[in-house]
Subunit: 134 residues, 4 copies
């Protein structure tokens, strides 16, 4: 049985997620969706959304998607992620849809697409490591 | 003559940099160093620094390093970045050292290393696009 | 009008493609498909298909897909590619399906999926640079 | 004790390495160097060395560098590699220098630089998975 992702728990113990306004709207079966409202305080010096915010959606979304496949004693951590950007974002709401492409015992490969309205904003391909807590 | 990077200007118009506490301590000749003090509000659900914060240091640091090579009318934007993580971070100060590996007319390839004390925390390899403002 | 990709021309001037047995079976409208028959001489020391062969399918397939969108005077070159592997391959025929995700004036982002039968073997996400010949 | 890399054994059972003319000239302590003589049959349709050949140097070089750190029962496999290109190559000899940046129990991160003379041709950053044979 997939366990509940800590980020969406009522206790809300994801400080950075709260800082940037990231919210999961769906997690389960190796997939996740998280959303974020674009705000001025997330802008870079060019006056558009900082790429690190978009990246954070993908990284967090990957953690959530993979988390839904883990056993009770397992945790996961990001090994590496590549993200490519397609559009600058100035306003609106972004959604990040993530899926686990491949799950092996200790490794998973995941893919995220960040969209704003109908526009593809970024795409990410990442590797996570799965380990057991003691 | 390299132009001053807007992030370090006294006007301070890098909202996301301010939100996470990112500061440039050196920029010039295709290189940059930026630093960040680890704080609890930058943590992920596992109680360590969110990977998106480390990524944001690399992305911003690359922009700063490349900016030092641009002409007055040129601007740059992130095409893609890959980042690999080597260590979880719970406290202290991180430094991100970036250098332009290759500069062509419209493209640059950059590399960042994020360290905490003597420990290599992450390494990033990215592509930027250079364009002219009208 | 998209121009014909040199690789599939009757003159056959793609030496490395010939060396590894790579063939385009479709090119057009920002997409391509190329195929390759697995042979022992393409194996690595572990007795499975070398990852460099799978990568070469993606790299070449990206060139073909993008080529179909170029103007007569334009050429393209690989800036960077990330490839992730999902399965070792020992026999059979591989197909690499590629599509241009984003085309800007000087930059394109492309994605390739390599499959063997029903199995996803690898996925690649890459950046190409577009320039004009003089 | 690091074990000898199979590729450099006198039996020479690396078929793809032989096909493209790849040779290890040094392996040990988490590092490797391999070399390759540029030949016309390794060219792409543009008349320069195919990027897949340069990639294959990095992928193989990473395997060799990591192999030098493995125990007798361990093997490794490529999870993903990103490679960025800096220069087209038409002739001469290329060298690929690789080092293990980080070795954990099941994961390693490696970096390769491919050079031709004094020119940096490509740089790669990759992830390998380490497993035990039964």
């Amino acid at each position: 049985m997939p366990k509940e992702f800590p980020t969406v728990s009522p206790q809300g113990f994801h400080p950075f997620g709260e800082l940037i306004g990231l919210e999961f709207t769906a997690i389960g079966e190796g997939r996740s969706r998280c959303e974020l409202q674009v705000r001025d305080e997330l802008f870079n010096p060019h006056g558009v959304l900082h790429g690190g915010v978009v990246y954070s959606m993908a990284d967090t979304g990957m953690g959530g998607a993979l988390y839904s496949l883990l056993e009770e004693k397992e945790l996961c951590t990001t090994v590496e992620i590549k993200i490519a950007y397609f559009a600058a974002v100035k306003e609106g709401k972004l959604a990040c849809d993530t899926r686990v492409i491949e799950r092996r015992s200790r490794i998973a490969i995941l893919e995220s697409e960040v969209t704003g309205g109908d526009r593809l904003v970024a795409k990410a391909l990442g590797t996570f490591y799965i380990y057991e807590t003691r």
